[in-house]
């Protein structure tokens, strides 16, 4: 995945490196600025079994900061913010592999380095008893739940870094 580009992110920003589950790395440019979840909307996307984006509704594209053409075929983890603990995504994938529904509060990273919080639900799309893809629907989370997650995730990341 391409590193984030300074041309896309207004200064000031912080530079960070993120390592994904497959060992690949990406340079991130992060801004400490939240984009509010759009009122009354749902952010909907779908990926194939490898986690590549195959569909996104207007809100998904708009909130990501990317163009739709850029997003299609990209790994969904392009939206992963380094403030999210790895354990959350491990739990997501193991839940989906059991063909069960996963819920969680997620901090997502935009192309412009800003972030947005969502309450995400991901389900396996099952056709004739086989999982053929995954659908993720995000809705507006409550501020108090976000505040709880900020603390919890920071603690989880600290523990992950120690091991």
């Amino acid at each position: 995945m391409k590193d984030m580009q300074s041309v896309d992110v207004l200064e000031p920003y912080t530079e960070r490196q993120i390592q994904y589950h497959d060992g690949s790395e990406r340079a991130l440019l992060l801004k400490d600025e939240e984009v509010p979840f759009p009122e009354g909307k749902l952010i909907v996307s779908r990926t194939n079994l490898e986690g590549m984006i195959t569909h996104g509704n207007y809100s998904f594209v708009e909130m990501s900061g990317y163009e739709e053409e850029e997003l299609m075929g990209m790994p969904h983890c392009v939206l992963r913010h380094p403030d999210m603990p790895s354990a959350a995504f491990k739990d997501l994938w193991s839940t989906l592999q059991r063909q069960e529904k996963w819920h969680g509060y997620v901090k997502n990273l935009r192309k412009d380095g800003r972030y947005y919080w969502v309450y995400a639900t991901v389900i396996p799309n099952i056709r004739h008893n086989e999982t053929v893809s995954y659908t993720s629907v995000r809705r507006k989370p409550s501020r108090s739940k976000i505040d709880e997650c900020i603390q919890l995730y920071a603690q989880m990341i600290q523990e992950e870094n120690q091991t």
């Binding site: 009354g40 809100s59 991901v122 389900i123 799309n125 659908t135 809705r139 409550s142």
Partner: protein, 248 residues
């Protein structure tokens, strides 16, 4: 053979005549007998579905999910550019100006429309409200929801957006919209049951061209529908997947 068609009970009341006209029009086009049975509420309609009495149904997304996955119905068309959206409203003079202003023990007036109630509850989540910490009252119609708000018996109400928009100007002037959903992907769908499967292709073909057929546009207008768009089975499955993510 005689077939039975029904319509989700949440359609606007001023379109009742339109559905009868549509049924007559469709019978003429197909050259078959179709009986239109309208139910006063969702429970009565679901009992008829359980008894296997329904062959053609204009279903709300919630029921479409059950009909396709459990009863073997097939989706054929959906109304053009007409998603099921929900409005949460409070009294115009209420101190509540946003969803986040709502507190536990908020009094909610709603109908028994499952889609509206599901989407409405999702839009209350940012205020940490759920079925356990609000006080709900169920009424029969959207106008009764407005009345419960005017009389001070309810703080907020859930409205199907179409129904909210069809309230009189005076009624709407007494309400304020706290939030209006813009989900787009959730719509009513016309479904064909297993007993009417032979009619599926012919009905789909007629409806997709309905606006160009004799009297077709007038019939569509009477139902408040501009035209029909194709709804493939995968389109319907996608909508059901989406609905699944919204149900805990």
């Amino acid at each position: 053979m005689k077939y039975t068609m029904t319509v989700s009970p949440d359609f606007p009341l001023d379109h009742i005549a339109g559905w009868y006209i549509f049924n007559t029009w469709l019978q003429v086009k197909l050259g078959i007998n179709i009986h239109l049975e309208l139910y006063d509420n969702f429970d009565l309609q679901r009992e008829a579905i359980e008894r296997g009495e329904i062959d053609i149904i204009y279903a709300n997304p919630f029921d479409a999910s059950m009909l396709i996955r459990e009863k073997g119905f097939t989706a054929i068309v959906k109304p053009h550019a007409r998603a099921d959206e929900v409005v949460i409203a409070a009294a115009i003079d209420s101190s509540i100006e946003a969803i986040e202003d709502l507190n536990p023990e908020t009094r909610l007036a709603k109908t028994n429309d499952p889609d509206v109630n599901m989407i409405g509850m999702i839009m209350l989540e940012p205020a940490n409200l759920n079925a356990k910490n609000i006080i709900e009252e169920q009424v029969d119609t959207h106008i009764l929801i407005a009345k419960r708000i005017f009389s001070g018996h309810a703080d907020i109400g859930f409205f199907l957006k179409d129904s909210y928009d069809s309230l009189s100007q005076f009624v709407r002037s007494q309400l304020q919209v706290l939030v209006s959903s813009q989900i787009d992907d959730i719509t009513h769908t016309l479904l064909i049951g297993p007993n009417a499967k032979d009619l599926q292709e012919e009905i789909q073909s007629i409806l997709l061209n309905m606006q160009d057929l004799e009297k077709g546009q007038g019939v569509l207008d009477s139902m408040g529908i501009k035209s029909w768009d194709i709804q493939t089975q995968e389109d319907a499955e996608f909508m059901i997947d989406l609905m699944d993510t919204l149900v805990d």
